[in-house]
Amino acid sequence: MTKLRRLVFFSPLGGTQKTLHDVKTLITLFQDPQVQSELDRVLIFHDESTHRNAELMAREVNKLVSTKPDVQFHALPNMNAMMDNEIITPLQNDDIILASGSGSHLGLILHNLKTNSQLIGKSLLLVHPRPNGVSLGVYKYHLSFDEITVEKLDLQHPNPVQSLRGVLKESGAEIGEVYPRSDTLSQEYRRMVELESQQSAEDFRELLMSHYQISIERAGEKMEVIAGALLSSMYSHFTEIYGNILFSRGDEPLKFQEEDILAMLTNGDIIWFSSKYSIQSATINHERQRLLAKLPINFPDKRIHRVILTFSGMAEKYSQSEGSVLITGLASLHSKLDQFIERR
């Protein structure tokens, strides 16, 4: 007989997309042979500041689970008052708890495992979606009067790819361009990529200008168009590709950051592309330094790969092992993407 279980998590203050993604992961986990059970109830912990997000989460959970589980809410004191009195949480046998909320919330759960007398003789599961996006740490706690036995399981992440659009939307970013899926690169652009890899940056830029009858400034823009088309033709590596992404700060009208391309790989990592079609080393160096900063999104930085797209002749001047920013021409982009997927 399938076991009925309750999913438990803390409503987030920010980062609703991440929590929602983790909740989806746990819902998928309910079907795992090692966990196999049916989700019939959900318990969401919240405080005053996270109550609204708790309601949002409840609505989303109901959309995700066709059986419409019974969603319960449990109010906790706010963070300033959380340790004024001992808190006994209404955890139950067979609950599956998502490691969510703050460090203090996690501490509260672990404290309850030791002290909540209602839980003696019970078992609970705590799931930690690891930030590497590859696996889940699953801890099964068997509670007795004076002992806690912990069984550990390592499960493959069943749902590693987050929605990039969702991550960007939550960060207040505006997407300027959606790259379409394309199976092939046009004959003309393919030829351009090939020629570009065979010539110096200066010579190829001249060729581009004469072929398309454009200025130096337009030559850089044309290369960005070719780069975009090339990425579209490699869509099998990606789930989403967006261009001209504008970030703003809070409710300030000033757009403080614009990025050329952000793409979600099929393994759930993000590539942060910057196009720099300049023949000045100083421009590339400055851009490399700039990309060392964090993107203003709620996503593990270790899973964001930085790539500068430039002329192949310029890229050759930089060692691949130098720093954490990859500098590449278009011709070798495909093999570089494979590296990003395989390194996991």
């Binding site: 963070m79 300033n80 959380m82 340790m83 004024d84 009195n85 001992e86 808190i87 490691a99 460090g103 203090s104 996690l106 501490g107 509260l108 672990l110 404290h111 495992l113 030791k114 002290t115 705590l126 930690h128 690891r130 930030p131 740490g137 801890y139 706690y141 004076d146 002992e147 806690i148 036995t149 912990v150 550990k152 700060r249 000033l254 403080f256 950051q257 160096n285 400055h286 330094q289 700039r290 060392l292 900063a293 964090k294 203003p296």
Partner: protein, 243 residues
């Protein structure tokens, strides 16, 4: 004799680790502390333990490689020990692994660094047990003390960049002053911005993201107009102050 042992996996934030250990030593709540070191914190923890243990022979202080502890907690703890686990620093995974290892000896009493925040900032910081039976204010460490405890290369780095220690928050602060760039050419300004970035990254490597605050003087008009790099990239990470 029953050892009252505080166990925690620490992060890179040097000041925070120092403050927790100093507090544990000064209180009568613990007789021992075990810091679980990751590859990133091993060096700094060894330095810290050798510095602090020399000043207090009544308190047992040890730095243990986290993986060794997780695999064989009985090598480092006795079943007669009263175990206290401080949650908060370090990663969620390390904390869950540490909790599991401690449960193999004795389920630990849980602790946290409890902060009360007001609109103007943090008002109190305490080491408090989740059963709320014990609480102790975190000791404030002076600038002189923290510099004595820092490894000399880090101390030199901080002196070189004029990094200030703020005892009340237990964090270091790096202040970026735009005034020095007044009247300089855009090329010089850009070089200077790049240098500031390199400094911030280097400091974060040594002090941890949570162990370092960054402030800057009001942005000159030309920086805002040019949508300068610091403004674009650090807007969410640094705070403007009026000096």
């Amino acid at each position: 004799m029953v050892q009252k042992t505080l166990v925690f996996a620490n992060g890179i934030s040097f000041g925070n680790t120092c403050q927790i250990i100093q507090t544990a030593m000064a209180s009568n709540l613990f007789s021992a502390a075990k810091i679980l070191s990751s590859p990133e914190t091993r060096g700094i923890n060894s330095h810290l333990v050798s510095t602090l243990a020399a000043n207090n022979t009544d308190f047992s202080l040890q730095s243990i490689p986290l993986n060794d502890f997780i695999n064989n907690p009985a090598d480092f703890l006795s079943t007669s020990d009263e175990l206290n686990f401080l949650i908060g620093p370090s990663t969620v995974e390390y904390q869950l692994e540490t909790f599991a290892a401690l449960c193999a000896i004795n389920p630990p009493r849980m602790w946290s660094v409890f902060e009360k925040r007001t609109k103007s900032g943090i008002s109190t910081r305490e080491l408090r047990s989740f059963d709320v039976k014990d609480s102790v204010a975190l000791v404030e460490i002076s600038s002189d003390e923290i510099h004595k405890m820092l490894p000399s290369p880090v101390s030199s780095l901080l002196r070189e960049h004029g990094i200030q220690w703020k005892g009340s928050t237990s964090r270091f602060n790096y202040h970026i002053n735009f005034h020095s760039m007044k009247g300089r050419t855009p090329h010089t300004q850009r070089k200077w911005e790049q240098k500031q970035y390199a400094i911030i990254n280097q400091l974060r490597e040594h002090l941890g993201i949570h162990g370092l605050t960054i402030t800057h003087s009001p942005l000159p008009n030309h920086w805002q107009k040019q949508n300068g790099t610091l403004r674009r990239l650090s807007a969410r990470q640094i705070r403007e102050v009026s000096k």
